[in-house]
C-alpha cells in the first residue's frame, strides 16, 4: 500500500517526469534476445501459432484493402504494424477468457479460430454473418469464441469489460476479460469510469492499450500531454506495464504475467503496447495529409512480423520456404473465401426487426407488416440482390471513422 502519511514542508509540484516508465524490450531488431535479457518461456507450438496468425492477418488485410478498392467491400480497417501487440497479448489468455476489443484487433479473433469464411461473411454481410448483416464491415463478434461483438462507439467496452470480469469473478471459474483499446479512445470519459470502477471492485480484467501514435489524424501530442497511458495506472491503483509492441516476446511475456496478476490477485492490469499504425486509419482515410512517409518508413523497419521471423529462424523453428508456402496458402484461402462467400444471399428480411427485443413487440410487428405490404407493391425497388448488388448494399462508404 501507499504510505498516505508522507509529509513535507517543501512546496514542490509533482510532475510527469517524476514517474518515469520504462518500456519492456526483449528482442532486438535482428530478432535476437537483447543483452542481459532472458528469453521468456514459450513453446514452439504456441510460437508458431502466433507467427502464423500474425501473417494470416497481414495477408487478410492486404487482400481486403484490395477488395475494398475494387468495390467488393464498403469499408475495411487493418491491423498492419500492430500484429504483435494483438496476437502476443491474446495468446497469453485462455480461450475461455472474454475478449472485448475496439476494432483493430481481428488478429485476436483469428487466434481464437475465426475462419476465412467467417471473416468474409461479416465483411460481406451475407446470410451467414453471425451479426445478421447489421453492422458495417469489421464489426465482428463470436459467442463461440468468447469474442464480444464490436461496436463503433469508442471506449464503451471499457466499463463493460470491468462488469463482465466482475461477473466472471462471481461465477468463480478462474476466467478473466481482456479489453483492447487505442490511446485515442483512452481520452473518453468511459476510460476513466471503467478503469476506476474495475480497480475499486477488483475485477480480473487486463486492459491492453494499443498506443499506435495516431487516432485517425490526431497524433498523440494532441491527444495527451502525459507520458502515454501506463502512468495513469498509478492514479487508479492499477499495476501497469509498458512494452515494445513490435516485440512479440515482450508483449507475450508481459501479458502472461498480466493475466496471472489479474486472476490471482483479482485486480485489473494495464498493458500498454508501443507500436505504430502502419496503414491508413481505415479505407476512408488518407494519412499522407497528416504524417510523413519518413516516419512511416522508420516504423516499417521495425515490422513485428519480420522481427519474429528472424527469431524463429534463429531458433530453427521455421524456414524461409515454409514462410513462402504459408503466405501463398493464406492468399489462396482468403481469395477463395471471398469469392465463395460473396455469392451467398443476404440475410433474410426478418432480421431487420428481429433481436431489437428478444421477442418483437406488437408495434414493431405491425410496422414490419406494413413494410412487407409496401415492398410487395414495388418488388424491384427493394431488397438487396446478392448478385447485382443493392443501391446501398456494398456501396463504398462516403466517409467513416
Amino acid at each position: 500500500m501507499v504510505d498516505k502519511n508522507l509529509v513535507t514542508s517543501v512546496l514542490k509540484f509533482t510532475e510527469a517526469k517524476d514517474m518515469p516508465i520504462s518500456t519492456l524490450s526483449l528482442l532486438n531488431a535482428d530478432g535476437e534476445i537483447l543483452e542481459g535479457a532472458q528469453e521468456p518461456k514459450i513453446d514452439k507450438h504456441t510460437a508458431l501459432k502466433i507467427y502464423r496468425d500474425m501473417n494470416y492477418i497481414r495477408v487478410l488485410d492486404e487482400r481486403m484493402i484490395g477488395a475494398q478498392r475494387q468495390g467488393r467491400l464498403s469499408f475495411y480497417v487493418t491491423c498492419t504494424g500492430e500484429e504483435a501487440s494483438v496476437v502476443g497479448s491474446v495468446a497469453a489468455f485462455s480461450s475461455q477468457d472474454m475478449v472485448m476489443s475496439q476494432y483493430r484487433e481481428h488478429a485476436a479473433l483469428r487466434y481464437r479460430g475465426f475462419t476465412s469464411k467467417q471473416f468474409m461473411n461479416q465483411l460481406l454481410s451475407n446470410d451467414l454473418d453471425l451479426g445478421k448483416g447489421r453492422q458495417m464491415p469489421i464489426h465482428y463478434g463470436s459467442r463461440d469464441l468468447n469474442y464480444m461483438t464490436i461496436s463503433s462507439t469508442l471506449a464503451t467496452q471499457i466499463p463493460q469489460a470491468a462488469g463482465y470480469a466482475y461477473g466472471q469473478k462471481l461465477s468463480g471459474n478462474d476466467t478473466c476479460t481482456i479489453c483492447y483499446f487505442g490511446e485515442g479512445a483512452a481520452s473518453e470519459g468511459d476510460f476513466h469510469a471503467g478503469l476506476n470502477i474495475a480497480a475499486v471492485s477488483k475485477c480480473p480484467v487486463v486492459f491492453v492499450v494499443r498506443n499506435n501514435g495516431y487516432a485517425i489524424s490526431t497524433p498523440t501530442v494532441e491527444q495527451f500531454v502525459g507520458d502515454g497511458i501506463a502512468p495513469r495506472g498509478v492514479g487508479y491503483g492499477i499495476p501497469a506495464i509498458r512494452v515494445d509492441g513490435n516485440d512479440i516476446l515482450a508483449v507475450h511475456a508481459a501479458s502472461v504475467e498480466a493475466r496471472n496478476l489479474a486472476i490471482e490477485k483479482s485486480t485489473p492490469v494495464i498493458v500498454e503496447t508501443m507500436s505504430y499504425r502502419l496503414g491508413a486509419h481505415s479505407t476512408s482515410d488518407d494519412p499522407t495529409s497528416y504524417r510523413t512517409s519518413e516516419e512511416e518508413e522508420m516504423w516499417r523497419q521495425k515490422d513485428p512480423i519480420e522481427r519474429m521471423k528472424k527469431w524463429l529462424l534463429g531458433k530453427g523453428w521455421w524456414s524461409d520456404q515454409q514462410d513462402h508456402q504459408m503466405k501463398d496458402e493464406y492468399k489462396k484461402e482468403i481469395l477463395g473465401a471471398l469469392k465463395s462467400q460473396e455469392k451467398r444471399q443476404p440475410p433474410v428480411l426478418d432480421h431487420l426487426i428481429s433481436d431489437v427485443y428478444q421477442i418483437p413487440p406488437a408495434h414493431l410487428r405491425e410496422q414490419y407488416s406494413e413494410l412487407l405490404a409496401h415492398i410487395d407493391k414495388y418488388p424491384d425497388h427493394y431488397l438487396p440482390n446478392p448478385t447485382k448488388g443493392h443501391d446501398s448494399y456494398h456501396k463504398p462508404a462516403a466517409q467513416f471513422s
Partner: protein, 325 residues
C-alpha cells in the same frame, strides 16, 4: 397483506429478486451499507453481502457500462441512478450500447439482465436537478423498455418483471409519492406483465392517460368531473415502451376524447407520441382534439413548481374544454 409504501415495495422487490436468484447484483452510489439516499436498498448489503450489493464510485456512465457487461456475462444487474436527473452521463451507454446490444450482435450477446432503477419527477421542491422526468428520451430508443409504477403494488410486481425481463429496462420510480403512496402488497414473489396498461376506472365521456405520480392528479380530476356529470375512463400506462396502444385506442374509440398528462415539458414529451398514434387509430371516433396537460417548455423550476406542474385543476379544466368542444 401488509400495507407498505412504494419505497418499501421497491425494497421488497429487490429483496425478493436477490433471494430468488443468486445472480442478481445491485449497485449504485451510496446503495451499500447506507441503503441509498432514499433507502430503497436498505438492508440488502447486510443480507446478501458486499459482492452482491455495493457502492460504486460516482460515475453514472461507469455504473451503466459496468452493469451492461455484468448482464452480458450472465449476471442480473440492477443499477441505481441516484436521481433521474443524473442519468444523462450514462446516456451513451444506455442508448448506443444497452439498447443495441442484442441487435448488433445478431443475438449472440445480450444485456437483457440489465435493469436501471431511478427516482424521477417533481413535487418535492427540488428545482432543476432533483425533479426531472426524462422518460421520453428513453422511449425514443428501440431496444429499451421503460416502466413506471404508480402504486406500491405495481412497484413490486413491475420491478420483479423488469429485473427478470429478457430486455434492458429503465424503471422510473415516482419519488414524490415514495412514502405517500401505500397499499396492500403481498410478501410473496409476484410479477405484473410489462407492456400492459391498466384501466383504473371505467368511464364513457373521456379518456385520461398518465403514469407515475400524475395518476393521482388524474384520479382527483376525474372525481371533480364526476360531480359535473362527466364520466372519465382513467388509464395508467405502467409501461411506456412498448406502450399498450390497443387499450388506449379501445377506450378512445368508446369515449371519443383523450387527455394525456405528464410532468415533463410538452414539446417532444411522450404525450405527443400517444396523441399522434391515437389520432391515427381513432380518427373517426374523435369528437374533440386530443389535449396534452404537461409541464411547461422550461427547465424544471423551483419557486413556481406548482404553477409549472400539471395538476388536477389543469386536467379538470381540460376535461371540461374537451367535453364542451
Amino acid at each position: 397483506m401488509p400495507k407498505i409504501n412504494l419505497l418499501q415495495a421497491v425494497n421488497s422487490a429487490l429483496d425478493t429478486a436477490m433471494d430468488a436468484d443468486s445472480r442478481v447484483v445491485c449497485l449504485g452510489e451510496d446503495i451499500g451499507e447506507f441503503g441509498g439516499v432514499f433507502r430503497a436498498t436498505s438492508k440488502l448489503q447486510e443480507k446478501y453481502g458486499k459482492q452482491r450489493c455495493f457502492n460504486t464510485p460516482i460515475t453514472e456512465q461507469g455504473i451503466v457500462g459496468f452493469s451492461i457487461g455484468l448482464a452480458a456475462q450472465g449476471s442480473v444487474a440492477v443499477a441505481e441512478i441516484q436521481f433521474a436527473d443524473y442519468i444523462f452521463p450514462a446516456f451513451d451507454q444506455i442508448v448506443n450500447e444497452a439498447a443495441k446490444f442484442r441487435y448488433r450482435s445478431g443475438d449472440q450477446f445480450n444485456c437483457g439482465g440489465l435493469t436501471i432503477r431511478t427516482p424521477y419527477g417533481g413535487g418535492i421542491a427540488g428545482g432543476l436537478y432533483h425533479s426531472q422526468s426524462p422518460e421520453a428520451y428513453f422511449c425514443h430508443t428501440p431496444g429499451l423498455k421503460v416502466v413506471i409504477p404508480s402504486t406500491a403494488y405495481q412497484a413490486k410486481g413491475l420491478l420483479l418483471s423488469a429485473i427478470r425481463d429478457p430486455d434492458p429496462v429503465i424503471f422510473f420510480e415516482p419519488k414524490a409519492i415514495y412514502r405517500a403512496e401505500a397499499g396492500d402488497v403481498p410478501d410473496t414473489d409476484y410479477e405484473l406483465p410489462l407492456g400492459v396498461a391498466q384501466v383504473v376506472s371505467t368511464g364513457t365521456d373521456i379518456t385520461l392517460v398518465g403514469w407515475g405520480a400524475q395518476m393521482h392528479q388524474l384520479h382527483r380530476a376525474a372525481k371533480m368531473a364526476a360531480k359535473d356529470g362527466i364520466s372519465c375512463e382513467v388509464i395508467d400506462l405502467c409501461t411506456l415502451l412498448p406502450w399498450d396502444a390497443d387499450t388506449v385506442a379501445k377506450s378512445v374509440t368508446k369515449t371519443g376524447r383523450l387527455i394525456i398528462s405528464h410532468e415533463a415539458p410538452r414539446t417532444g414529451g411522450f404525450a405527443g407520441e400517444i396523441a399522434a398514434t391515437i389520432q391515427e387509430r381513432c380518427f373517426l371516433s374523435l369528437e374533440s382534439p386530443i389535449t396534452r396537460i404537461t409541464g411547461l417548455d422550461t427547465p424544471f423550476p423551483l419557486v413556481f413548481e406548482k404553477e409549472y406542474l400539471p395538476d388536477y385543476l389543469k386536467v379538470f379544466e381540460a376535461i371540461k374544454a374537451s367535453v364542451h368542444f
